[in-house]
Symmetry: C2
């Protein structure tokens, strides 16, 4: 039989094995390769933007044993604290054990410092190796080691996973220690990870009042609060059912749980240490985690757990503090995050090295304020329709919709004018002089009306018009494909008076803020859904005439810009024509992705799962900008736009504005700014810095 | 006051008038310029592809008078008969009259030949001038003249409007008379006009049996049959209401009637001669017209007319024969047109000079036969779903849709297989070996199910499944934007077994036809709605595996191609990727136009009228291919496709395939073929010839 498995290796793996391997080895190696395509791996790659064609490698090395008695052992260690970033060797080990015993969390291991007492020389040797490795890789290392009969073997080292908080501290420390330049430090950070720091933290007052029902290891910091779920599947279901916040409670987690963990606000486990599966994954995800709670008695079958003498069932609200390990049997109030300390330092570096401006999508003064505090340099998208849905306004909107004459419509619009004006004043104030881009009415009008007969009857009565007439209006507004129907600037073409009212509100608000608060606002009026230059020019003229008329009447100086969304493929294809009169473009990559793929965002979910399963798509084009198709249109439009208007402002205001890989694309495509939701502003700032460090702009 | 109007002309028209003009002249000139933008002019330009930026000119010349007594007169004449093409001077005149008296049709004028008796010398002078003009312009001339006190003045000459029949005869005659080359003759024809000859003519037997109730001037040939309408507006309404065929009956027509005339099958007037408004316009439109029916008593107010002692009211069916002038008080049977005589000659020239192949869109053997007789060189689009709607098949389709397992679905598909196979055999036979392109299932599945509870109940009972289950299926299939939903190859990705069944039908049918009839069919399997190369490859592999399996089993040689529609912008943008595996592209310009504009074909009508009114759009992008936007994508895809597959077959199968200006574009874009509805095949053949004469292909 000599050489059989060696031959098999050669045949099946094309690998020339030095000596005859063990029988099981080939199967083991194959299993590793297979694992690259299991559903969890595919999901993980999608979440972390890892192309599936990279593939995986198998490293075959001879085995050392940590379970050969009391002079043997094994452990895991980090050169710095992965949860706080503190510069101090950090880890755990178990004597007479193998690696899985430590990770699985069945036996609770000892802190690495204890090794000093056990074997001073060996400990010092380990510390030296750790320092050497960190200096070499210029990053915090996550190391696995085994001691075989008193001899130390390093099994593996890699840059360690860490919490966002730790990542920032380590980055700042490494710069202070002169190990990294600011640019190098910025490149080592994962923008997506910042998310963890941007979300609410516990309110200290509320936290003091709340009763601690138990304590575990502070495995991953953050404020987790939500309804209890006992299985990953159930956690996913509950979120789908609309329960926004869920805490996953398990004896211990395993790789099968990854999707359920991703949707949870926090993870609570009875078993496992700081390096258990739950702890490592939670830190990577920036999700709060409290692990190894000895007193926690979980009955996953009955769907109850008891702690602190009380029993909690599925759906009960609890809170966990991943920084202290405290567990609370109630919902604890949270407060918004703020940028300070290391975070502020890193953000200052980012602004120093980025070329892209970062703006925000905000429709309310509250959003605008949050974004301003997170460093937004203006509003890239204010969706005015959101102001139309308010309970106190929708009557006037509906009155406008059912109007049968221009006069009636103008009368209804007149009622909306002061409200819109007030909205804009609020936004201008919060942005303290930064540019504010206001998109005119976009959605199809039927969205403002009820569709069930009962509601229509009620509304008709309330409006004092015949049911039949309102019913007719609703029927006439019904469309087969509303996404491609009568919306966007198409509304302004049939009802120019709507655009006139909005123009009046935008301009008068700017004049007011200028007078009252001295902010010199340059409003940017954005026309949605343009597909043709003559179409845009028609609306542009309506807006410009109204604006100039008001400014002239007031006799004040006020600059404003009129531009358009580029969200229809034809607008990108004819961008040179449009740029002759449009002063700026903002890429609406949500709609642009819909039209370019022919995917309705509301319906694609049904079949896209098959696309992931069959590995046709690796990522959701609505979350990560498709650079081969949609991106081609963006590049084309940017080029065509600049060809006729070299100083044209180019922005993006789709969901993609806050996605790091998309921000990198926008940088390369030569855009002026990205605009994203307030909580993504710091992420975009870091991503923009990384983009410009990779491909510096001239 | 001297010089006042001269000055005004200079000021308002920038025109240096030689002498002081009459007071009213300036207003008159302005009125002419204004007329360029009246709604009828805008409509006329849209119908005839005339850009509105051309503008119009005003020719000011001194007046001569035909109403200065019996030695004066005026008339209109053609160098050849505009309705038959016969080479014989043809026209009418009135003594002591002005032009409007002739055109308005208030006085019935004398044939031009009478002028000979009246003034031989003058008549001969006129004949010489007519011949000189025809030789100069190498085309039949339409001339206006006035005689002032015995002196002949030519007021105007232009290429004369003519019937399609006349156009063909004149073209062939001019070539025989060596006045024109074949190419020149082809260029003088208007492809759209051929339409008139492609539609049914009266069945001779039926015509003999039918009772003639009156007779008028054969003003525009063709078989007109339909329900009586007394106003142009009403004619339009009736067509909108679903009455397909309408005959417009008027005292006399005027420019306001143009839209109503365009939707009518025929026009019948009591007044007016061969050159009256009704006659001229009807000939231009290729619509049957009988004019100047003296005995016709029309009461437009009461909406009745009497003729031949009988009274007819709105909605009654009558028939008119524009070639004989006969009127029938009943519906007369019609028969399909055939290509013969001059038509055949001209089509032979067209095929000689065209570079594009012309195929047809056909789903039934009957359509395929018609198209084959009109010279189609294959089927460019067979919509298989049309075969699914048949009453005897839809049960199996529905069974397939409600299936909850692959097995159930395959069982239902098995029932459809023989039917599909039979369909394809029928098409292959009619195309006698020409290529046949078969598009796989395209529409969203909900189109095959009822949506009202009552119908769902009935169907559930019929299918022997619970109402609740069927209701659920219907609900699950409901989509917000079905046009961008679960359709096209997205169905083949979720249900590959559908593509497998269709593949089996296509291949087995081809094998049968090869054995039985000896036609060597090369089926072209077309995958709809592709947006990504990996997506296409998944379905392509399903199809190829099935096809090869069957061919191998049969042990016969059979070639087939697998290609894709290019109807999603992203497919055009990534065409190089797709062409690596796709053997042909067919541009689905209906959907491509929808996605590129973001216009839902079902909904855009509502707002597009505003676009025409406001002169934002000059033509309907669904009727005339938008060359600046959609066309850019077509050119891009053609270029990218050829870059990786130089011999790739490129076709178009949208509505545009039969539109002359779009055919010209397809020629320039380097397409291999256009595919259009059977009745447009000859139009496309002529348009293709003209395109290649204008821009010869190397």
């Amino acid at each position: 039989m000599i050489g059989k498995y060696k031959a098999l290796f050669k045949k099946e793996m094309g690998y020339d094995f030095p000596q005859e391997p063990k029988a099981q080895l080939l199967e083991a190696v194959k299993a590793v390769f297979r694992s690259w395509d299991n559903p969890r791996a595919i999901y993980y790659r999608r979440v972390n933007d890892i192309p599936s064609n990279w593939g995986t490698a198998v490293n075959i090395q001879s085995m050392v044993f940590g379970n050969m008695g009391e002079k043997s052992g094994t452990g895991v260690a980090f050169t710095r604290n992965p949860s706080t970033g503190e510069k101090k060797l950090y880890g755990e080990y178990l004597m007479n054990a193998q690696g899985e015993d430590v990770v699985a969390g069945v036996r609770t291991p000892n802190p690495i410092s204890d090794l000093q007492k056990q074997d001073k020389k060996l400990y010092e040797q380990f510390v030296n190796i750790a320092n050497t490795l960190e200096k070499h890789y210029k990053d915090m290392q996550d190391m696995e080691f085994t001691i075989e009969n008193g001899k130390l073997y390093m099994l593996q080292t890699r840059n360690g996973k860490r919490t966002a908080k730790a990542a920032l501290k380590i980055a700042v420390d490494l710069v202070n220690e002169k190990m990294l330049s600011e640019k190098e430090a910025l490149m080592k950070l994962d923008p997506k990870q910042l998310d963890a720091l941007l979300h609410p933290q516990f309110d200290n007052a509320a936290l003091k009042k709340a009763k601690v029902i138990g304590k575990g290891l502070p495995a991953s910091p953050g404020a987790g609060c939500g309804a209890v779920a006992f299985t990953a599947e159930r956690a996913e279901e509950m979120v789908k059912e609309g329960i926004k916040k869920v805490i996953l409670v398990r004896l211990e987690t395993s790789p099968e749980d990854i999707e359920g963990m991703a949707v949870s606000q926090g993870i609570l486990t009875a078993r496992g240490g700081m390096t258990s599966h739950a702890a490592v994954v939670a830190r990577g995800m920036g999700t709060a985690c409290v692990a190894g709670v000895g007193e926690l008695v979980v009955d996953e079958a009955k769907k109850v757990f008891t702690l602190g003498g009380k029993t909690y069932k599925e759906g009960d609200y609890i809170s966990i503090d991943g920084s202290t390990g405290n567990i609370y049997g109630e919902e604890v109030k949270t407060v918004p995050a703020s940028l300070s300390g290391d975070f502020a330092t890193v953000m200052a570096w980012a602004d120093k090295y980025k070329a892209l401006e970062v703006r925000t999508n905000a429709d309310t003064p509250a959003d605008a304020k949050t974004a301003y505090n997170f460093g937004a340099q203006g509003i890239g998208l204010c969706r005015t329709e959101h102001m139309f849905f308010d309970a106190d306004r929708i009557p006037a909107v509906r009155e406008m919709i059912v109007s049968t004459t221009v006069e009636e419509r103008k009368k209804a619009l007149k009622k909306l004018l002061p409200m819109q004006k007030k909205d804009f004043i609020g936004l201008y104030k919060e942005m303290k002089g930064y540019p504010v881009t206001i998109r005119f009415l976009d959605p199809p009008l039927h969205e403002f009306l009820p569709h069930e007969d009962a509601e229509i009857k009620a509304l008709a009565a309330e409006m004092g018009i015949p049911f039949k007439r309102l019913k007719e209006t609703v029927a006439n507004l019904k469309e087969v494909n509303p996404m491609m129907g009568h919306r966007g600037l198409r509304l302004a073409i049939t009802y120019p008076e709507i655009a006139e009212m909005q123009t009046q509100a935008v301009i008068e608000a700017a004049l007011t803020v200028k007078k009252k608060y001295g902010y010199d606002i340059k409003p940017e009026i954005m026309i949605p859904l343009t597909c043709d230059s003559r179409e845009f020019n028609f609306v542009r003229d309506v807006v410009a005439n109204k604006a100039d008329e008001i400014i002239a009447k007031e006799g004040v100086k006020l600059q404003y810009k009129i531009g358009t969304m580029i969200e229809i493929p034809r607008a990108a294809l004819t961008a040179d024509e449009i740029a002759k009169t449009a002063e700026f473009f903002s890429f609406g990559t949500n709609d642009l992705t819909q039209m370019t793929y022919g995917f309705s965002r509301d319906d694609a979910g049904k079949f896209l799962d098959y696309y992931y399963e069959r590995k046709i798509f690796e990522s959701d084009p609505f979350a990560r900008l498709d650079q081969n198709g949609v991106g081609k249109l963006v590049e084309m439009a940017a080029k065509l736009g600049k060809s006729v208007r070299p100083d044209i402002k180019l922005g993006i205001c789709g969901e993609h504005g806050g996605d790091p890989s998309s921000v990198d694309f926008c940088h390369r495509a030569g855009l002026t700014y990205v605009s994203c939701s307030p909580y993504r502003v710091p992420i975009a700032r870091l991503a923009a810095a990384q983009a410009n460090i990779k491909n510096p702009r001239k």
